[in-house]
């Protein structure tokens, strides 16, 4: 069986993630034990931050796909909408899960209902869940695609709000570690591991999006072949 470019990206992404994990446990320095309640649990962030980053890429793909379908009726747009929502759900759940575990270790509670970033990111993940489950329960058609695309378009409003949330309303979630102010910078070795993680998650999500686009293409082809078979 031939190896596709999507598969190659998935393999490269996975290898990078394993390398990140190895470096996070064996090479990256520990944080200041006085600054954290659970200094060792901080190592969660080597996958947590890249997973959130990948989720933002997926939500951007979802937005572009939704716009292309809604305004241009582009078949590629619909495929990107499907791929973006699935990838956004997977990466969003990973970021939420790891964040909850870290919150339980550091804050003593897995969720803070008053923190803007937590809640806007949680809403984004729920939106992706609605799009994935909704599409599976509805027959494919122009009306259902329009409805889901509208949610994809409006939901993207939450992305910039989530991004700036820790810059404007610092409640519990730590501030930005990259491109933040002088106080938020992390040490060089930690930044290198984080960058390898971000690059790996980016490769992985591109591979997933390419595979998902192909799956939608296959489903549409099967649908058409089935119609031919039924004599429609």
């Amino acid at each position: 069986m031939r190896v596709k470019s999507g598969d190659m990206l998935l393999i490269a992404g996975f290898s990078g993630l394993m390398l990140t994990l190895y470096l996070a446990f064996n090479w990256a320095p520990s944080v200041n034990i006085n600054a954290f309640q659970s200094p060792e649990a901080q190592r969660i962030f080597y996958w947590h931050v890249p997973a959130a980053w990948a989720a933002f890429i997926a939500f951007a793909v979802l937005f572009i796909g939704s716009a292309l379908w809604f305004f241009k009726r582009s078949p590629l747009g619909w495929k990107l909408h499907v791929a973006g929502s699935e990838a956004g759900l997977a990466c969003g759940l990973m970021a939420v899960w790891s964040g909850c575990v870290w919150g339980a270790a550091e804050w003593g509670t897995p969720w803070d209902w008053q923190d803007y970033r937590l809640n806007t990111f949680g809403l984004l993940t729920l939106l992706a869940l609605f799009l994935v489950l909704g599409r599976q329960s509805q027959p494919d058609g122009v009306e259902s695609r329009d409805t889901f695309s509208t949610f994809g378009l409006y939901g993207f409003v939450l992305v910039p709000i989530t991004y700036i949330a820790t810059r404007i309303w610092v409640i519990r979630h730590p501030g930005p570690v990259i491109a933040g102010d002088d106080d938020s910078s992390i040490s060089g070795d930690m930044a290198i591991v984080l960058m390898i993680g971000a690059l790996s998650f980016t490769l992985l999500i591109i591979g997933h999006i390419m595979t998902s686009v192909e799956i939608t293409k296959f489903e549409q082809r099967i649908d058409r072949l089935q119609k031919e078979l039924d004599g429609e």
Partner: protein
Amino acid sequence: MEDNTYLSIAYLGMILGLAIWTWTTISRSRKLELRIIAMEESLNVKQSEADSIAVLNDNTTE
């Protein structure tokens, strides 16, 4: 719980999620590909990649 327990729970959950997601996606792709090949062979038709919903919509609006 100790710090390392939290760390293990977080990473095991993410690894499991990632593995399930990737395995589901790849196996779904392979199954659909094989089904298409079988259907196209039985129908003796050429490959086409048009989106029937988009095509249907184009025909209705024209």
